[in-house]
Structure formats: C-alpha cells, structure tokens
Subunit: 450 residues, 2 copies
C-alpha cells in the first residue's frame, strides 16, 4: 500500500519525455544523434537506464497513428526533414520493463481508435510484469490522417472525442477492478485456484461501448496503472481534473503555469479528490552546459537545423488544418475553428498576438523547439528556474524534454539533477518500488479495492 | 538476407508453447508450479532463457479475450479449478525481447476484434526492437464471450471470421511494405532523413477495412514478422496454405499428421509458394523422465488433478457451445453445427467415434491433457517418436507443450534436446540471429522488398 505520507514536501517529481532524436523538431541532425540506433532496443535501454541512474520518476513516450501528412495532403516535408518514424510506444515500454528495475514506464495510447478491453488488458499486463511501474497517457487523436487508418475519413469533433475518452477510461477502470485483491487461493490440494465470488463482471453498456468483462488479468503491486492526461482545452482540463493522476502541460510563463496549477488542484477538489492525488508536471526543455555561452551555442546550432515547412507540417497535423493553403510569408491565419489539438492552438494564438509572426516564422519556431518552454543556461540557472516554478506552486515537478538525444539527457542528469539533489529538491535514491510510490500518489480507489 | 540454403535438411524446428502453469488443464496443481510467480516477468524470463539455452527456435504464447464462461454462462468452474488468468501475450513477448538474445518470440493476436493498423504496428515495432525475432500467430476468436467484450453479442460465423482474417492479413502485409528497404538517407548536412518517394501509401479499401497508411515503422532485420497459423478447418487450411510460414496443428496420429503435412505443402505449392516456405510443427506434449515408469507416474499424477467440469468449461468455450445443458453421464452430443474452433470439434468427433465416452469422461480428458498428442517415456523414447514423425514427413519439427512448468520444460531441454542433438536432428548453436533464419524461411516477398 502506498500513500503520499512520508514524502518530503520539497521534493519535485521528474519525468523524461523520450523519443528517438529529441524534442527539437530537427534534432536528428545534431552530430551526436545515433540515427543508426533509432530502431534498436539497446538505444532506448541506454536512455531509460540513464534516467534510472538519476532516479527520475518515469520515462514517457508519446504517440500518433501514421505519418503526419495534413500539410498539402502529403508526407513529403515530414519524411524528408524530420525523424518521422515512430515505434509503437506501448511496445517500447513493454520491452523496457525487462531492462529497467525501478523507473516508471509511461506511454500514450489514444482512446479514439482503440478498444478499452485491449488497452486495459495490455496496461494491466505490463503493470504486473513491471512490478507496478506502468502509466497510461490518455489522449484523443487529433488529425484526419489518423482517422483514415481506421476506416474513417474525418476525425470526430473535439467534444465527441472527449465523450468517448471519458467512457473509455470508465470502462478500463471497471475492468481493472475485475479481481478483488484477495481473490486468489492457490490451494493445490483442494484444487481451488481463486474464489469465483471475488471476480466480477463489468456489464458496461454505454453510448460508445458494451463491455461485459471480467478482465482475465488481476491488479498489480500499484493497484492499477497511473493515469496521465495532457488536455489543455476546457473539456480536457475537466477530464483531467476528474481522472488524471499526472498532468502534462505546455506552460510558457510562470504566471500561466501558476494559474493552471491552481486550476487543476481546484478541479481535482471539485471532484472530491485530494489535491495531492494529482501531480502537475509541465514540459520543460533544458539546454544546459557548463557555461551559458556554450548552452546558447547549442541552442543556436539546433535552431539552425529548423525547416519552416516541416515545422508547419507538424503543426498542421496537430491542429488538423492544412496551413499550406496560406502564403508562407503572409500572416498566420485565424485558426479558432480548427478541430485538432486545442492546446497547440492556444500557444499559437498567444504567440501570434504578441509577436505577429509570418507563417514562415511560425514554421521556424515549430520546426525548432516547437514552442516548448526552453530553459537555456548553466546547471545553476536551470535549477534556479525549476526551483522557482516549484516553490511558486507552478508545478509539482517537470516533464523534461531533452532537446536532442542521448546527449541532452546525459547533460540534464549529470549537471542539473545533482544540483537539484544538493538543494534537497530531488531524491538521491528511490524509496519505493512502484511508480505510484515514486510519484507520491495514493492507492487507487476502486470498487474492488481494499 | 536469409534463405533456407545451408541448413541441414535433417534438422528439425522446435518451438515451445508456454503459459504460466503448463498444458495440462490443471497443471497449476502440480507441487512444483510457482503460483506466486505467475504474474512476474522474472518467471517468463527464466522459461524463455531455458528455451534459448537449448537453442529452440521460438517461444510461443496463445491468447483469448476474457475468462471462459460459455459453460452454464458462468466462469465459476474456470476460475475455481483452472489457472484461468492470462497476461496479454503480445505484452509478454515484448517484455521478453529485452531479456533474451536469439530465440524467436511468438504471440497470438486475433483478427476478430482488433484493427490491422495497430496489430501491424505493434508487431513491426517488436520485430525491430527484438532484432527480427517476432512472430504473429493469426487466429480468429472462437466464443461469444469474447465478442461481448467488444460491443457484440454473438461471434461472427466461421466463414465471416476467416474472410475478415484474410483481409486483415493483407492489410498488415501492405503496411509492412510502407518503407522501401533503402528509403533512409540520414544525411545530417543536407537535412534529408529519408526519401519520400520510397515511402508508400497503402490506400486499402476493402470490405472490412479502409486503411490509408503508410505505417510509420519500417521493416526489420528479418523483413517482417513471421506469420503462424493453426487453422484446421477447410477455410483455415486454405488460409494457412496461402499465408502462413509456420503451421501449428493438433495431430493425434502419425498417419493423420503425414496426410496433413502433405496437404499443407501441396496447398503452399498451389499458391505458388515453395514447400520450404511453410513449416509444419504439430503440438506435442512430452512427459519425460529418466525411466518410463517415472514418466508414467508423472502422467498419472497430472491426470489425477483433472476436473471434468472445468474440462467441459474449456471445451465449451473453444467450440462456442454450452455443454452444461447435457447430462454429465450421458453420451457426448452431436456437435457438428457449433460455430467455434473447428479443429477441437474434429478431435472430439474422432474421440467420440472411437471410444464413445460420456460427457464426464470427455471432460476428464479435457480437464487433463486436453486431447493433445502426449508422448510419455524416456528421453530416448521421446526422441524416437520425434525422429519417426520427422523422417516420415509428418512434420518439420514440433511445437513442444510442456505438461507443467517450469519443470516440464527443464526436463525436455535437459533430457530430450541433447538426445536430438546427438542424433544430428537439432542444432547445437544458433547459426543466424533472426527467427526467419532459425526456421530456414525465405526473406518475405513484398511490394517494396528487394
């Protein structure tokens, strides 16, 4: 059993958001990225073990279904300029479960084109196999291109996607409660494997799903997988407040982050949940080096790689709107009605209001750091930033987004983590074995939980 | 590149069919089965490494969706008497990819309630992460209970399931051909990740699926996952002849196995395939000990555990027909019209014709060895059996089904494998690194393959 008691209040949670090349859109072009290892488990094992040596809470992989091709109805810019290939993130964290010991393993799985029985069962299985270290980042898909790999032509609209997502998570939670904790008997003499009275049908009959259950997989050492959400729209925030245990978000400013943090904690409370039961971890891209000048040089090099068209290709896909119909050197068009990822849209709107960029300039941002919150400087400067946000109640920790890999992660763990540890802001050893314990989350409530 | 040339024709292929407890229905009751480790990766790692030390070709895990409850519309008998829990097998082999080096990793995934895009992508990802060691056992689901976890009430009929399966595999194969082998450029200076002209949409629009593609995952060191099939019905055999690279089957007699083998090789030829491109590996349950008497004792002990009602519960689910409506001590009813697994039905019909058992007796068989081909005896006796079937062209090797675990696998690898190796019938070292190489299968043909 786990609870948040005993955790020092001044310790932050740190996850690392991984992919093959890093979070600069053209990071693969950095001289140090190992393009010949992008499809090898050995590479991801190295990354995950680096994070584990630094005692990070969790490694996280995002997802989408297929190649981004919303821009000009073509994947040409994406395939040519970007590391567009993507291993299935669930398969990746399952493979990593055998080569890591303590660190949490999180993957995005969309609720838009999947079945709750399969998703619940795969995560429940991984949660057992990893000893209670799995987490599911619940998203809705955001582009028509994804719909076209699953029999559809168009993405369902935003509210419909969230309606399905809510019911999906309700079903998954119900399936995870199929087995009471003490259902197993394992009496070989009497021939009683388990008590049938402690195994339960779900009998879910909702608008989107009919699922009878029971799941044939019992609960894990952390009860059930940790639920992550990153919705920034109104529907997304409300869903997260009621459901999520970890919130990833993109927060460009301290004030915005503080307001989001307060909003999410209040939202959790409005659902009768403890504010401690929901951890807010905004994304943060550290570009760190021994000197600030060196860090700035790295940033300049990464920005140099940016391809504006490829940047617009990523953005078009995320907001589900083809930006290729507008002139590259004209202003950013009014985008309030697009149906894709509302959080990206909000960031673009914010940028457009303050800087009035052209589409090419927006593409350059997006083909570079993608509007993520960068912190560029020395280990002390990065730690100062993190400490300020943490102490100012702008977050419970961060989802670290290395600008390029593996070097960007190595630098963070070698330079920044020790600085945080010296300040008493981050653990020096794991004191639990499950992800729920690392994060200081309570044992999940549930129908069949004691 | 792989081909079957250079492989000694007298070497057989050996897979091992694993689960938690073993293949006797009540194997978990054997004093040596570690019920406290059934949900731990460490246990499956031990099993897979044992198989790998013995140089076996592949470990295999089967699947179904949910708890068998067709019998009396209840899971009571199943949950009480059987090791009814089941980890998602794909998740399990993904986890095993990190803790094994050479052995193939095969899992069942049904085509009945899944999407080809997801299945193709997960297997393609695992195939890369494992270095070309994955295999997909393609099945159609067999019970109404499974349908009820996916919005349905009744299982689609047998022919409809196979129709969907054919189209499903066609789509998956097309997605695996999304990337030409030489599509990647990785030119960091010029900023060219890959050649867009060498990446292809699928644009599949069939009866069951509309899938545009491309997949965002390229081919693996073995080209694509190995395809396994186990259909024994006419539709199943025809599907396997055209599609499968490995055939699992249940063959009780040498004559039946020889006829099936000839039939499958001829079937492959009728699809323009080399007979070597399809490996027939019937299931075989070795109960082996230093002396025949000791082996018989083990068999008697395992049979002792059999629960006739639980046996009928498994069978009811597999054939999708509730046997609880018939008296336990009456004859086995006429079952020719049931819609579930036709291969099981054939075995039951055969047994019923020859032995006229009561339903209780049938349940006892099924709650025991489940009608699988047992071979009970010394290592020499088991090897003699295997050699005879192999030399008589009844098979290309076997899918070994340990009666209980881990001991049944240890005994097979320690006692029988060396005997086969001494006879020159089985490898003493892996000479390839991919599953396709172990099995002596050709590089897969495909639109975008060189």
């Amino acid at each position: 059993m786990t609870s948040s008691q005993g955790r020092k209040p001044e310790e932050m949670r740190l996850g690392v958001f991984l992919d093959a090349a890093g979070h600069y859109a053209s990071a693969w072009r950095h001289p140090s990225t190992p393009t010949d290892r992008f499809f090898r488990l050995e590479y991801y094992r190295q990354l995950a073990r680096t994070a584990e040596r630094a005692k990070l809470d969790v490694v996280f992989f995002s997802d989408r279904y297929g190649l981004p091709d919303r821009y000009g109805d073509s994947f040409r810019a994406t395939v040519t300029a970007l590391h567009c290939t993507k291993l299935d993130p669930f398969t990746l964290i399952a493979a990593l479960s055998g080569v890591t010991e303590r660190i949490g393993l999180a993957a995005t799985v969309s609720t838009s084109f999947t079945e709750p029985f399969h998703v619940a069962r795969q995560f429940a299985s991984l949660d057992l196999l990893s000893g209670g270290r799995s987490a599911w980042n619940i998203v809705t898909s955001t582009s028509d291109g994804e719909a076209r790999n699953f029999g559809g032509e168009r993405l369902p609209d935003h509210d419909a996607r969230y309606e399905r997502a809510r019911e999906f998570v309700e079903v998954a939670g119900g399936l995870w409660d199929s087995w009471e904790n003490d259902a197993f008997v394992f009496d070989k003499q009497a021939g009683v494997y388990a008590e049938a009275d402690k195994v339960h049908y779900l009998h879910h009959r909702g608008k989107h799903f009919h699922v009878r259950g029971p799941l044939d997989v019992p609960g894990s050492p952390q009860g059930r997988p940790v639920l992550i959400q990153a919705g920034a729209s109104e529907a997304g925030r409300d869903f997260a407040a009621g459901t999520a245990e970890v919130i990833f978000s993109a927060q460009p400013t301290l004030d915005g982050a503080r307001s989001f943090y307060a909003d999410m904690k209040a939202g959790a409370a409005s659902y009768g949940r403890s504010p401690d039961a929901i951890k807010v971890m905004p994304g943060m891209m550290p570009i760190v080096a021994a000197t600030e000048a060196e860090a700035r040089e790295t940033e300049a090099m990464l920005a140099e790689f940016a391809d504006p068209v490829a940047g617009l290709a990523i953005l078009s896909d995320q907001i589900n709107y083809d930006l290729s119909v507008h002139p590259l050197d004209g202003p950013v068009p009014e985008l309030s009605e697009v149906s894709g990822m509302q959080s990206r849209l909000q960031l673009v709107a914010k940028l457009t209001r303050s800087d009035s960029p052209t589409l090419r300039q927006l593409g350059r941002f997006y083909g570079g750091s993608r509007l993520h919150r960068k912190v560029v400087g020395t280990p002390v400067q990065v730690a100062d930033f993190m400490e300020e946000w943490f102490r100012q109640e702008a977050c419970d920790g961060f989802n670290i987004m290395p600008p390029y890999l593996p070097d960007g992660l190595d630098k963070f763990t070698e330079l920044v983590v020790p600085e945080l540890q010296n300040r008493g802001l981050f653990r020096t050893e794991y004191d639990g074995s499950t992800l729920r314990e690392h994060l200081g989350l309570p044992w999940p409530a549930g129908r069949n939980r004691t």
